[in-house]
Symmetry: C2
Subunit: 353 residues, 2 copies
């Protein structure tokens, strides 16, 4: 179960081994085995799909925010508002996947009764990849809309400074072979993670990706620090709206508080919303899937742009990568492995080897 | 009331005059006075806000689709699926603003009872600007998510041909001074309307905006015909998801049918979804508005990029333009005026003058 997969000299690990490692680290910081396993699975989900920026590479950040009491590994979730089709969870700074997982389940339960269910998640920490939850909902035969808000790290359109976040948005519908079609995107042109990758490789950025600390557009990855919004006012508007639709009605504003300079407001915090729609109440599964098949076939039959090479559906690359990595293991770059194993040593956790 | 506003030699008309003109044209094609007035108001709403591509310039297209029986000016709306929080309207090819207006009202009624309400609109024609409906819902103190799907006119990422549409998306929340914050965006980099504007002015396009008929990227506005999606796979994914979340469960697929080559499938048709969320059930209006004020102030205080000149909230430019145009009238370019008045003459409607 937990054996390492080794197919080359680069360190490779099985999903199970990485999940166990992550869970043990989190337990060493006081999280219950059940909660630690949920969070570990969320990280490894991202690694499997090739979204390494949302995988076990987040563990050092999780450790930091636990140490600063910005994430509470022992926090309990509370139901604050509980009506027929809308619920609010107070996450009490627990790890994101705990409240988000519960939110997905409750949104689906409500949708079964009323056709649509929305759960708002207040005061959570890093939600992990939103695709985890939209995929779960779509696997259960429902459509999903999910969004999250975070502290400013991206330029607002027209501003030379970070004002909003690279807030994520996910839409999903049930797909063929139980593989939902999942769009899981940031509101920035490229993610903060990609900027850091280019910096590490000393590669120049493309124009329109980022600003430097002084707010000037730059292609120098060594000084780039503020991602630019997708399509200017569109990406910037999306990110702002996610804040206004989640943080504000949850009375936990992240942008306004961030700039008010209060200590509390500078802390890591996120808010989110998950909506599940029970579409098979008004259409048949067979017809939906037949129409989806026809749509996918039509798009894949279009003439291909050689620069791109292939026409893919949202989420398709992730499924392929997931199959490949489940078989061959997940590569952990040597520097990341070193960091993770140093952490493990401090916490008396069996290192990855 | 219906007097023309003339402030310069370019033809200017008051909103009331344009609405009356539009309504009379639609009535001459068989629409009831009440329905014609609703559709006319939707067009003029866009003209007032500066979205001239969605205003009275659409009248010739509306005439064309009525003549081709793609829009039915006498169609009735039917409620197909009627549950506590989800309803489906069969629009029977009626004018978009009729079903969309009813959908907004019903979504709000349901949200009052269950916290959230979703109305799906099947088989409508041009919805007009989605901001009309999201603004209405936000004015009533609720948040809104709206999307629409249409026939292919935009490139799918990786394809050298149109595969999806420049499908719109709108998010809105209640705003200060009863002016909601409204994001109303297409999933393309620039709209088809903008491409046509550049073509008329013989201006070159910016790189990344469009393809020519052969599917090659071009900056030549004379040959550009296929808009490119916002941010490649992101805008393309958004547009596809709007189709999968509206057209497919409504059993009225637009993409798949378009490529199947059936006559029926080539006709103008749209599907849409409107969700209203009664946020003041779980937060106070005063606190929401105070937080919103703080957020807007914080963003507007950021250092401004001189190339943009000003930091604006989503929808803000539209309100300003609306105030200006309500006072000074709406400019109708001479060529458009000529087209509209030729139509009026044929239909025995008093021309704009």
């Amino acid at each position: 179960m937990t054996q390492d997969v080794k197919t080359s000299s680069t360190p490779h690990f099985s999903a199970e081994r990485l999940a166990l490692f992550s869970s043990e680290i989190l337990q060493a910081k006081g999280m219950s085995p059940k909660d630690a396993s949920t969070v570990a699975d969320a990280l490894v989900w991202a690694n499997l799909r090739g979204m390494d920026t949302h995988g076990v590479s987040r563990i050092p950040m999780y450790m930091r925010i636990i140490d600063k009491a910005e994430m509470n590994p022992k926090a309990s979730l509370e139901l604050r508002h509980d009506t027929l089709a809308v619920k609010v969870i107070e996450a009490n700074r627990s790890a994101g996947p705990l409240a988000m997982g519960w939110a997905s389940d409750m949104a689906m339960e409500m949708a079964k009764k009323t056709g649509i269910g929305m759960v708002m998640v207040r005061n959570t920490t890093h939600t992990a990849a939103l695709g985890i939850y939209s995929e779960k909902i779509a696997r259960a035969g429902m459509s999903c809309i999910a969004m999250a808000a975070s502290r400013p790290n991206m330029a607002y359109f027209g501003a030379k400074a970070a004002g909003i976040s690279t807030a994520p948005f996910s839409l999903a519908v049930p797909g063929p072979d139980n593989q939902p079609i999942i769009l899981d995107m940031a509101s920035s042109v490229v993610s903060m993670g990609k900027l850091l990758q280019y910096k590490a490789k000393k590669q120049p950025l493309e124009p329109g990706w980022a600003l430097d600390d002084a707010g000037n557009e730059t292609t120098d990855s060594q000084v780039a620090s503020i991602p630019l919004p997708l399509g200017g006012p569109k990406g910037s508007g999306l990110s702002l709206m996610f804040e206004l639709m989640t943080s504000l009605p949850l009375m936990n504003p992240l942008i306004g508080n961030f700039f008010s300079g209060e200590f509390e407001a500078q802390r890591h915090c996120q808010n989110a919303m998950i909506i599940a729609m029970d579409i098979y109440q008004f259409c048949s599964k067979e017809q939906f899937q037949a129409e989806l098949h026809m749509c996918i076939q039509a798009l894949k039959a279009l003439p291909v742009d050689d620069k791109v090479g292939e026409i893919l559906m949202p989420g398709e690359r992730g499924y392929r990568e997931s199959d490949k990595r489940a078989l061959n293991g997940i590569v952990i770059p040597p520097s990341m492995l070193k960091t993770l194993n140093e952490l493990a040593q401090k916490l008396n956790v069996k290192p990855l080897s």
